[in-house]
């Protein structure tokens, strides 16, 4: 039996994104942003948008595949897919699902995307205004535990306390994103650098490890990538970017109700990371650039640990700013500014940045980058990750 894998089977041929706006500042409707990103990805790939035959997304994206297909006059829709789970846990999974569709022959040319004009809907940082909380929330909302920051805070408290990791390690993660955004004119935080003093003086969102700058922004915009069979990518304008490995899901009872996951202080990547590295036939030591989704900096720490990039024993020494910066850091990370400082496009902007790094066209280019890992939204469940590489890695 032939090996069941996506390694080297598909490529990202095109990337697209809209202008990234501060929360509530988009002049365009969310669905229009989605259309702009999809068309930009097709243009980048040199492919007629009417050839697109599938859409994959995540986070309960409101821009439905069938509406996109109708609006764009798609000839034949062969794949439409929504990955369960909120936030950016599904960012890599949307690319993986597009890849699986393309490789299996279900479809030929699939867009993975995220459109999010949250400003036109509700704030993430506020609880839903409901008279009565049901399901898990019945045991959380009455105690004032309602926002994403709060849902994850106790994982981070537990992990940081157990391993003696200092808040300064999280500050380095935040500062790396802001540093890279200062040379990325597309970044929402372009021209707004973050200093240690500014970080330390920022207000508490949740003690003991969530200051304001540990938390992502909310933004308006959209991003998209176009996934095609590897053979086809060779004939397209850009240097192909191949999917090497990907996985999604969660470990044993990661979604156990009311904070009862047996392995609680986790970003939920232990099995996902193992499966991703196995498919990629690579490990963290092979990676040139990391894009690690920041919903909260503590989640980045957990995610880096569970993917093998950071040892909790040496996290305080390793997670210093200089190690995280392009082009010369030991582990250049979030090189376009990430969710914190480029745009909170639920990580889709990180997939785009991974592709730019492999093409050699990034604003903060890491020289000779051949392997880039994208670690999707941590601490939600299910989560997902992927590894991309140049032709040299096949």
């Amino acid at each position: 039996m032939s090996e069941r894998t996506l390694r080297g089977k598909v490529a990202i041929a095109g990337i697209g994104e809209t202008t990234y706006y501060k929360h509530g500042h988009s002049p365009d409707a969310e669905f229009k942003l989605a259309l702009q990103a999809v068309l930009a990805a097709c243009r980048d790939a040199g492919i007629d948008p009417k050839e697109v035959d599938g859409f994959a997304s995540y986070g309960n994206d409101r821009s439905e595949a069938v509406r996109l297909a109708a609006a764009l006059g798609i000839k034949e829709l062969r794949f439409s897919n929504m990955h369960w789970g909120g936030g950016g846990g599904g960012v890599a999974a949307s690319v993986a699902n597009a890849a699986a569709a393309v490789h299996s022959g279900m479809a030929n040319c699939v867009i993975a995307f995220r459109s999010l004009a949250q400003g036109q809907f509700a704030r993430y940082g506020r609880g839903a205004a409901v008279p009565a909380a049901s399901g898990d929330d019945a045991f959380l909302f009455p105690y004032g535990l309602m926002s994403p920051a709060q849902r994850f805070a106790m994982k981070i408290t537990r992990f940081m306390t157990e391993h003696g990791i200092k808040h300064e390690a999280l500050r380095s993660i935040a500062m790396a994103s802001y540093h890279h955004a200062q040379t990325n004119p597309s970044a929402v935080m372009y021209g707004r650098p973050l200093t240690e003093e500014k970080y330390d003086a920022s207000r508490w969102i949740v003690e003991p490890f969530h200051r304001l700058f540990d938390c992502c922004q909310e933004n308006d915009g959209a991003g998209a990538v176009l996934v095609v069979p590897a053979d086809r990518a060779k004939d397209l304008p850009h240097k192909p970017t191949y999917l090497l490995g990907t996985a999604q899901g969660g470990h044993h009872r990661s979604a156990a109700p009311v904070h009862n996951a047996p392995d609680y202080a986790s970003a939920h990547f232990p099995t996902v990371a193992k499966n991703m590295w196995a498919m990629a036939k690579l490990g963290p030591q092979d990676v040139d650039v990391v894009q690690a989704y920041e919903n909260f900096t503590g989640g980045v720490l957990l995610s880096l640990v569970e993917h093998g990039f950071v040892d909790p024993k040496t996290a305080n020494e390793f997670l210093v700013l200089e190690n995280l910066l392009a082009p010369t850091g030991k582990m250049p990370m979030n090189t376009s500014g990430g969710n914190l400082a480029e745009c909170y496009m639920h990580g889709l902007e990180m997939v785009n940045e991974a592709v730019r790094q492999l093409r050699g066209t990034a604003n903060n280019q890491v020289p000779d980058a051949n392997v880039v890992a994208v670690l999707g939204g941590p601490m939600v469940t299910p989560v997902s990750s992927l590894v991309l590489g140049t032709e040299a890695t096949l």
Partner: protein, 144 residues
């Protein structure tokens, strides 16, 4: 005694899967799911035992005490009822006498009190008799 948090936060929907828990709290009893098939404790409530897949989940009164597994102190108000209230403390409490299941509640303490993982706590039943339907929350305080 005043409540841990100001009025106006969402009430718990007392759903069928959790009914014995909510009924128990009204009489100051802490009731947890326990599988009549394999004896596993389970929290939060679910229709099936995660260990043996029995649907015969019973309810057992457990000792209303535990130890702090983790904690947080929110400052940013996440609901209009919390505007201007200031920081409060949420704890995740492990119940060693009930299969180490964990429960979420507020720790009744000063807003700047030091919180230690592993500290022993006991339950405080907080009735909301004026709600329709009435309910009782389970809060926690340092063991005296």
């Amino acid at each position: 005694m005043s409540n841990a948090l100001p009025p106006g936060l969402p009430a718990p929907a007392q759903e069928p899967v959790a009914k014995p828990y909510w009924e128990g709290t009204r009489t100051n009893k802490l009731m947890i799911q326990r599988c009549t098939g394999c004896g596993a404790h389970q929290w939060g409530p679910e229709w099936v035992c995660h260990r043996c897949h029995s649907f015969d989940l019973g309810w057992e009164e457990v000792a209303p005490r535990g130890r702090i597994w983790s904690w947080q102190r929110p400052h940013h108000p996440v609901h209009p009822a919390l505007n201007g209230h200031g920081p409060y403390t949420i704890v995740l409490v492990e119940l060693p006498e009930a299969g180490n299941v964990r429960m979420v509640g507020n720790l009744l303490c000063a807003p700047d009190a030091k919180v230690e993982i592993g500290a022993e706590v006991e339950a405080v039943f907080e009735p909301h008799d004026d709600a329709d339907p009435p309910y009782t929350l389970v809060q926690w305080r340092a063991k005296g």
